[in-house]
């Protein structure tokens, strides 16, 4: 996957409907459900036994940067726009972008004690003005929000599809993955479909790290 370099204001990059995104090459990837045996609680394993995990099966991803900020545009089909918990029987839709914090990390276990991962996380119940959450995880169930997040997310749901753009300055002094043009990185993606009760470790994700090249 390549994050192409564009002369565009970050404000434009952050607009999922910006027509400039049409020219950015897209990666179509299959997503798979998280393996049930990795769920850390016996209750979750019992409640989800025999049930399909990961309702969203395909994700389209584009990446671009303007030397200052890098943006990832995610697009996927979801017939139900879940922006909240409804009558209590559903969850908000959500999406995330994941990186190894320091070069490499195990993906399926959400990192490890020695090899943490860094997630940018958006939930449809967030207001546009909210920052996306910046999380560090060292294994399943350990994700912690950092005090400050430098990532932003803007989303729109249109005709049965979510379009979400995550952006973050390439350079940050906060706790987060170091990204720079010319340096190869690994990246992965996750999507939660709220009306299918997805949250926590119940999600669809890109089963392998993607190689990310930043132009």
């Amino acid at each position: 996957m390549k994050a192409v370099k564009l002369q565009l204001a970050t404000r434009t990059l952050l607009n999922p409907g910006a027509q400039q995104w049409a020219k950015v090459p897209a990666e179509e990837m299959s997503l798979g459900g998280t393996p049930l045996h990795r769920q850390p609680s016996k209750y979750v394993r019992a409640a989800w036994a025999g049930k399909p995990l990961g309702a969203v099966r395909f994700l389209k991803v584009q990446a671009a940067h303007n030397s200052k900020d890098i943006a990832f545009r995610l697009e996927w089909a979801d017939p139900t726009e879940n922006r909240d918990y409804g009558d209590g029987s559903v969850f908000p839709d959500a999406a995330g972008v994941l990186f190894p914090l320091n070069g490499d990390a195990p993906l399926e276990s959400m990192g490890s004690a020695d090899a943490p991962v860094n997630a940018w996380y958006w939930r449809a119940s967030m207001a546009d003005e909210d920052d996306a959450q910046n999380l560090i995880a060292r294994g399943v169930g350990t994700a912690e929000q950092t005090a400050k997040s430098f990532s932003q997310a803007r989303a729109r749901w249109l005709d049965g599809r979510w379009e979400v753009v995550f952006s973050r300055p390439l350079q940050t002094d906060g706790e987060g993955v170091r990204l720079q043009p010319g340096k190869a990185s690994k990246v992965a993606f996750a999507v939660w479909e709220g009306s299918s009760q997805e949250r926590a470790g119940i999600k669809a994700f890109s089963k392998r790290w993607q190689e990310l090249e930043i132009e």
Partner: protein
């Protein structure tokens, strides 16, 4: 990685409560005491950590007993979360219109917005049976701070913990991300979701009060001397006496497998009336099978023990059990947590 203190009984100092269902009059002082203290903010306003329901009845949330969770032979049972409608509550009322609108008796107080379909005590006083043998009783419910809390084990983030010093089950709201597996796993459905803060919440056994030797609000406010509070290891205290020595205080739905630490003295109730209006002393109006369905097979011997001791005192004898149940001295019901909260400078 989940922080679990499963099976560990708070280093022996497990706090526990006993409700006497022969005394509860359903005045709701306990539920309101808790509400006023803990659940007033938006997002928590529909939460009733302590509820008092008429039994037989559908309870709160509605039909909670059929929502799964808990354990069967040690195995986690899937459960479901209640819906907003099944909880009800948190309604806004037209206070301004009624109190200040100058419309006199032409308007009355009612919830505004969607019509309520259930609430924290919706089927109050309906009960069951046919006149003249209709029957009901009141049963307060709150988080049981179980010895094997299914909620705690369910959390994939280990956001819940059971305190060593007193066995109180709490949630670290900074670790909670609102996944609500705890709501699904609790078989008593006493965990609530704060839709505004996006974290789950439940009764905290008034731990800030307990730490200052003040009884929980529901306990101290009860005007009916219907509830005891103490630690199970305080052998001379009323809670241990009623639960362990006399075995007249029983857990609700023991088959849920979580080992609750809230107990109930079963209601004895009146005798059935025959068609000729004579008493059938051998048949209680509250059917044994119904009470067994709530408290398990030990309920019959619990009631028998109480009846035997009542007979003793009726015949002029002495009964330690009856002395305990009568509760002559209010503060003895929750010693040593009998400190007056009004004398504390709470910050």
């Amino acid at each position: 990685m989940a922080k679990t203190t499963q099976g560990k009984n708070g280093a022996g100092h497990q706090v526990a409560m006993v409700f006497d269902l022969n005394k509860c009059i359903g005045c709701q002082t306990c539920s309101v005491a808790c509400k006023v203290l803990w659940t007033r903010e938006e997002g928590a306003d529909y939460q009733w950590w302590c509820t008092v329901n008429t039994q037989p009845g559908r309870g709160h949330p509605r039909d909670y007993e059929a929502m799964g969770g808990g354990y069967r032979e040690g195995v986690s049972q899937p459960g479901r979360r209640p819906t907003r409608e099944e909880w009800g509550g948190g309604w806004d009322f037209n206070y301004d219109e009624v109190l200040y609108g100058g419309k006199g008796q032409s308007v009355f107080l009612h919830p505004v917005g969607e019509e309520p379909k259930w609430g924290p005590n919706w089927d109050e006083d309906q009960g069951a049976g046919e006149y003249p043998n209709a029957y009901f009783f009141y049963m307060p419910r709150l988080c049981n701070h179980c010895t094997k809390p299914a909620c705690l084990e369910a959390c994939p983030r280990g956001a819940m913990y059971k305190r060593e010093q007193d066995g109180i089950v709490l949630r670290d709201e900074n670790r909670c991300r609102g996944y609500q597996f705890c709501l699904e796993a609790c078989p008593y459905k006493k965990v609530y979701f704060n839709f505004v803060r996006q974290v789950s919440q439940q009764c905290i056994m008034c731990f800030p009060r307990v730490e200052q030797s003040v009884a929980p609000a529901c306990v101290r406010q009860c005007p009916g001397r219907a509830v005891w509070f103490g630690t199970l290891d305080d052998e001379s205290g009323p809670v241990a006496q009623l639960v362990r020595k006399w075995e007249v205080a029983l857990p609700l739905h023991p088959e849920f497998g979580t080992e609750p630490n809230v107990f109930y003295i079963p209601p004895i109730g009146p005798a059935r009336l025959n068609d000729d209006l004579s008493f059938d002393e051998d048949t209680p109006r509250i059917p044994d099978e119904y009470l067994e369905g709530l408290f398990g097979p030990r309920v019959k011997s619990a009631i028998q023990t109480i009846k035997t001791e009542m007979t003793k005192t009726r015949e002029g004898g002495k009964s330690e059990l009856m002395d305990t149940l009568i509760a002559y001295w209010w503060k003895d019901m929750f010693k040593p947590y009998d400190r007056d909260p009004a004398e504390i400078q709470w910050t």
